[in-house]
Amino acid sequence: MTRHLLSIDDLSVEQIQEIFETAAEMHDVQRREVKKLPALRGRTVINMFFEDSTRTRSSFEIAGKWLSADVINISAKGSSASKGESLRDTVLTVCAMGVDGLVIRHPASGAAQQVSEWVDAVVVNAGDGMHEHPTQALLDAYTLERRLGSLEGRQVAIVGDLTHSRVFRSGVKCLTKLGAEVTVVAPPTLMPSGIDEWSRTAGFEVNYDLDEVLPKADAVMMLRVQKERMSGGYFPSPREYTVGYGLTRERLAQLKPDAPICHPGPMNRGLEIAADAADAAQSAVLEQVSAGVAIRMSVLYHLLAGEETP
């Protein structure tokens, strides 16, 4: 297994499957009355969040606790630059307390990778800016596999604000690795620069027309449109966005009835996803959340259980 989990690039297909297999076992543990496993007893995991997060932080916290690790949350919001402390100093200070695993969320792309070069602890990227969110991609793919079986040859649409989305960047890598045929859909202003070249070399499709993509999809992943994008001139109005790219009630009818609908949350109901779609029987949104704990237990287990205590 990889030493750190910074990007989906760190994982081979076999390693992803191994994480899924362990996650399935962890998933079973979640249904027990007593959920604790002793796997990480005596290990310390710090959740260091430089950015607000409720669900990812709680998910990592529960995952660590159910594995019997000592889990500490540190909220380090606000750039360390503004406090006069470098990021390197901030993380070295924390790690000097004796940390085995550092789960890091940071608003800047690349932060997790940089941190991994400075510290001795195992680093898990819990979202770095617009770059990657590998555990989200793993839990999404895991959720889809549980619904659909193998993803080989399956059509998956990723729809929404691709430019600013780490969920997209990790997701497209993970899904294509597992053999899915991914089509990404967004207005041109919300497509990352250079996506034509990128999609050609990485082997996914790009489309501006959701109505063309949706009927063929075996699964659809809707991305959140952040509030600040609405005033950023990326599209003329929320209403126009919904008409063009929202998973509306009308579009739900075009979707295959067994195609799972995923959303990393929090959802903007009525904007990128209609309530009918969010609450539909085919919606996988809550399964994603419970899979998230299992996947993170699996990741922490694989990265930390084998490690010798320093």
């Binding site: 690349g110 932060a111 617009m130 250079g194």
Partner: protein, 430 residues
């Protein structure tokens, strides 16, 4: 017989045009050239066999961090780095703290430079007060000061308001000034942009800095220069599109000059893949196509000069997440080597061309008398001796700069500065 230290005989140097000569330096000037063998016994002698003598290099674009950030660089340490890089004159950018936007501030830089005494430190004045882009700084008072400021720049920030830029261009005509523009439309490339906009920025999720944000300002400014009949200088040109615009403007007879940095002549945007802030610079490193266009433009004269954009930073200002880290990289000590490696080795410039782009053209653009000569008798003895035959692996710890943000660390470059002389006095080399 005791040595006469007031004179130096440089024996057997090769001039940029390939001719071999001795140079006798005395009283701050080049007293004699030609074959002087045997005629000057008892003077200090430098054996320059196999070395190229270049007129002292002139840097249009240096950031010294004094006043304000003396932990990153001072006028003295920056001067040492400059002398080690073969420079005899450097232009100190205005974005210090406080900003060089008054006559007094400019004179202070001048005096600090004179005290250091290693290179001529010529202050650049801010175009606008506090670099805010709104009101003109006291350009005329800076020009009339002892510092005789001729080059004005808000470098680090773009003079983006077209009306302010127009007024600045008009106003400096009265005293033969020039505006050096940091071309970056802040609407197309906000100052948080830090990666060339393209596939790499898309993949890495870094805020994109599209080439067009530079090109629209360059295009606007050459038209303003034409309209006002004034002179504009484009700092750190980084894209093929800007080169096209400048080439067109020069063909129209518009008074535009341009500089390129060593790093934009060699380093490319793919270096950002590891998120190492050492490679974070503004404008950002560009793709290979731009690098190629810049080399050609420097070779054919579309780009007039190489300028380092030497930008020292304390280590802790680079040890942030990539988007939060400071912009800039060191350049003074390695720029000649980069030009030798990229331009001379590839046959794009000969050593006369190097003298042109690193000494004569920048001295002319900055209006610096006494620099950018041709190593003829009677000229001030500002020169540097270069060994063109060696290859050197750069070691960032072997630097006169106080900072270590050196993108050339562990790279092999061609050539080495052996000695530098400012008005006959040796400022570097033993």
């Amino acid at each position: 017989m005791s040595l006469d230290h007031s004179k130096t005989l440089i024996a057997g140097a090769t001039l940029p045009d390939g001719t071999r000569t001795d140079l006798l330096l005395a009283d701050g000037a080049i007293l004699e050239t030609g074959s002087l063998d045997g005629r000057h016994e008892g003077v200090e002698r430098v054996d320059a066999d196999g070395l190229i003598a270049l007129p002292g290099l002139v840097d249009l674009h240096t950031h010294l961090r004094e006043p304000g950030r003396e932990d990153a660089e001072t006028v003295l340490t920056g001067s040492r780095a400059a002398a080690a890089g073969g420079f005899t004159a450097i232009l100190a950018m205005a974005n210090t703290n406080p900003v060089t936007d008054t006559a007094e501030a400019a004179e202070r830089i001048l005096d600090l430079g004179r005290t250091a005494g290693l290179v001529d430190v010529q202050p650049v004045g801010a175009v606008t007060k506090q670099l805010a882009g709104e009101e003109l700084a006291e350009l005329g008072l800076m020009a009339r000061s002892r510092a005789q400021v001729k080059v004005f720049s808000d470098d680090g920030k773009c003079v983006h308001d077209a009306r302010v830029m127009r007024r600045a261009l008009e106003y400096v005509k009265a005293f033969g000034g020039v505006v050096s523009q940091h071309a970056q439309d802040p609407h197309l490339a906000p100052y948080t942009s830090c990666c060339h906009e393209g596939e790499i920025s898309g993949r890495l999720g870094l805020p994109g800095w599209p080439g067009v944000a530079e090109e629209v300002i360059v295009a606007r400014d050459v038209m303003l220069a034409r309209h006002t009949g004034s002179r504009v200088h484009v700092a750190h040109v980084s894209t093929a599109g800007s080169v096209e615009v400048i080439r067109w403007a020069k063909a129209q007879g518009i008074a535009v000059t341009a500089e390129v940095t060593p790093h934009h002549l060699l380093l490319t945007t793919d270096l950002l893949a590891g998120y190492d802030p050492t490679y974070k610079v503004n404008p950002p490193l560009r793709p290979a196509e731009d690098v190629e266009a810049l080399r050609v433009a420097l070779s054919d004269g579309t780009i007039d000069a190489v300028a380092t954009d030497h930008a020292p930073h304390a280590r802790h200002d680079k040890e942030h997440a990539f988007v939060d880290a400071a912009f800039g990289m060191l350049g003074l000590e390695t720029s000649l080597q980069v030009v030798a490696t990229v331009m001379v080795e590839n046959g794009l410039l000969d050593w006369s061309g190097v003298a042109r782009v690193m000494s004569q053209a920048p001295a002319r653009i900055a209006g610096l008398d006494g620099h950018g000569g041709s190593l003829r008798a009677g000229e001030p003895a500002n020169l540097t001796l270069v060994d063109p035959s060696v290859q050197v692996v750069v070691d960032r710890d072997a630097s006169a700069s106080l900072s270590r943000n050196n993108p050339w660390h562990e790279r092999k470059l061609t050539g080495r500065v052996v000695a530098s002389f400012l008005r006959g006095a040796r400022t570097y080399g033993s």
